[in-house]
């Protein structure tokens, strides 16, 4: 299917933000590793790599606003609901396992990784529940 203008825009935004994320992450890691970051800037610089990721969430929201095909928009919303359910479930389960000392502590950003993985699950659910209309 030819992709919509909104989808193309979304992809370009995600590519740009991903490059920005890589740049910020490498710079922050380098700065902290070589103790180049002054105390006053530690918090802002540590947060810097998170900003493009937040931007990607914004780009997804923008896509939902710009997408003119209501059915395709609905598919994306379903994917996001699956992603949210999956990520929150993983975080809840891991939290209790962690509380009872059965697993190690996980960094908070794993929730985001689980959410993006959940998007893939949502895509598969769309495909298998809707057949040719779901992909």
């Amino acid at each position: 299917m030819p992709r919509s203008v909104a989808w193309t825009r979304y992809n370009w935004r995600v590519v740009g933000l991903s490059l920005l994320y890589a740049t910020f992450l490498i710079s922050a890691v380098y700065g902290f590793k070589h103790q180049l970051v002054p105390n006053a800037l530690k918090y802002p610089i540590a947060i810097l790599p998170a900003l493009p990721i937040i931007g990607i969430f914004g780009a997804m929201g923008r896509y939902l606003v710009e997408e003119q095909d209501e059915y395709v928009r609905m598919l994306m919303v379903r994917q996001m609901l699956w992603a949210s359910g999956f990520a929150l479930s993983c975080a809840t389960i891991w939290g209790f396992l962690d509380n009872f000392g059965l697993v190690g502590h996980a960094d908070g950003y794993w929730v985001v990784i689980a959410w993006f993985f959940g998007l893939g699950i949502g895509g598969l659910v769309n495909k298998f529940s809707l057949g040719a209309a779901g992909c």
Binding site: E70, Y71, A133, G134, C135
Partner: protein, 71 residues
């Protein structure tokens, strides 16, 4: 929702892609509506009706009408 979209499209020899282009939606949207997996919004239902020059109720079968006929 049950509908006659596939029949109306076939009468005009249009593919799902053709109909999608005329309605400015994707082929998969047409497929989902035809197979009753997705009920279009009112604006899209009106666009479909205007394209085929028919009233909405001649394209989409009202679920209440359908159940009363079944009784």
């Amino acid at each position: 929702m049950e509908n006659r979209l596939r029949l109306l499209r076939a009468e005009r020899n249009w593919s799902q892609q053709d109909l999608g282009q005329r309605l400015e939606v994707s082929r998969q949207s047409v497929n989902a509506i035809e197979t009753g997996k997705y009920d279009p919004s009112l604006p899209l239902a009106f666009r479909i009706a205007e394209l085929f020059d028919l009233p909405i109720e001649e394209i989409f079968v009202s679920p209440s009408t359908r159940s009363s006929k079944a009784i």
